[in-house]
Amino acid sequence: MGKEMERARDGQLVQRGLQGDRQALEALVNLYHGAIYKLAYRMLGNREDAADVTQTCFLKAFENLGSYNPEYKFFSWLYRIGINEALNTRRRNAGIEPLDQPIPDQGDGPELATGNDELQTQVQTALMQLNDEHRAVITLRHYSECSYADMAVILAVPEKTVRSRLFEARRKLQGVLSAAGVER
């Protein structure tokens, strides 16, 4: 499905949701819960927090559905809520876990227990050593495949800021990965 068709589909689902159509909102959850979870996981490095953020993201989105501006893509609006909620969680956790240390994954869930575990752990650990702004642009670009324009909307910054922030974030991430011996 093309991006314009996705946009039209999402717009229709939102309109139906605003009219109280629960199936439409369930469809939005079905379409985007995975993407929001992955985004939150990359931002937080913790499965439980990522699930909580995903839940809260949809809760806030549906509570404020009336304020959604259809001029923008629905997923950009949803990602923005997800990013903000992940940052809120990160700040709340700051009192519990040191900010400058990577947050280890808690538990032995399937995503860290099988397959390319080592690379995933190394990359996630490296991501957690970036600041929130840098981790957000890396996540949106490399894992959510957002365009610069989408990232500008999601992060509420000018596109030129996205470019410079992404460049700096990549430079720092390369440094961390190289130090950890992760290179291709």
């Binding site: 369930e26 839940q55 390319n116």
Partner: protein, 231 residues
């Protein structure tokens, strides 16, 4: 040494954010600049590393977890539901009643016909502090099944003309059931359910319909109208 502007432009080219003409102009300008080549190789290498990083597995039950915990808005069209009033009668002819449950997304969840032999006493016998004798007849029944909330509702009556609504509910979080007359707005009863609960609630006689509002965390999460129909 290439400029910061050109570094950002090269990054944009690798990301596919430059149009063909702009990229061609950039590459012509950079030529075989070794610093540009190193930067491009470095950026592409990072992209490959991140692309090789496996995606985190989304928990299989996450979607249902969200759907159960996020209160979805009720269909506001429920407010316009027309309730068919029953003729006033002092002594209802129970066998002529049925209770129908309509969900307002226009999907009929269940229509309870009269099956007194099958369900008589099934609910009433499990209730504490019952209003009606245990041999009160079941005049109709409906089932409400919404996300984490399940409720069986029975219209109960005696030959003396007493009416009650039997509620047996199970909710995994604190849930308030509010029973009101959808026409007048008069409240019949309110029940807070946390776990399994069985109660009888008095109803006026006659009754034509009962609106059931379900609240969780102070929010209206579901609305259903039970309509008493003449068969």
């Amino acid at each position: 040494m290439i400029s910061e502007v050109d570094k950002l432009a090269l990054q944009a080219a690798i990301d596919g954010e430059l149009d063909v003409a702009a990229e061609a102009e950039l590459r012509q300008r950079l030529g075989d600049n070794s610093e540009a080549s190193e930067l491009e190789a470095s950026l592409r290498g990072l992209s490959e590393t991140l692309a090789a990083d496996p995606e985190p597995e989304v928990p299989a039950n996450l979607e249902s977890y969200i759907l159960q915990s996020v209160p979805l808005p009720v269909d506001h069209r429920a407010k316009t539901q027309v309730v068919t009033p029953l003729p006033t009668r002092k002594r209802p002819e129970w066998q002529g009643f049925a209770m129908a449950a309509s969900l307002f997304v226009a999907v009929i969840l269940g229509v309870g016909a009269l099956f007194p032999d099958e369900i008589n006493g099934d609910l009433a016998g499990q209730m504490t502090g019952t209003l009606l004798p245990s041999d009160a007849q079941v005049l109709g029944e409906a089932r409400l099944d919404w996300q984490s909330v399940e409720a069986d509702l029975q219209l109960l009556g005696t030959d003396d003309g007493d009416l009650a609504l039997g509620l047996r509910a199970d909710a995994d979080q604190t849930t308030t059931f509010s029973f009101i007359d959808p026409v007048s707005g008069q409240s019949y009863a309110e029940v807070v359910v946390d776990g399994e609960t069985a109660k009888q609630l008095p109803l006026p006689n006659p009754v034509s319909s009962v609106q059931v509002d379900v609240f969780q965390k102070g929010q209206l999460v579901h609305r259903e109208v039970l309509q008493v129909l003449d068969e």
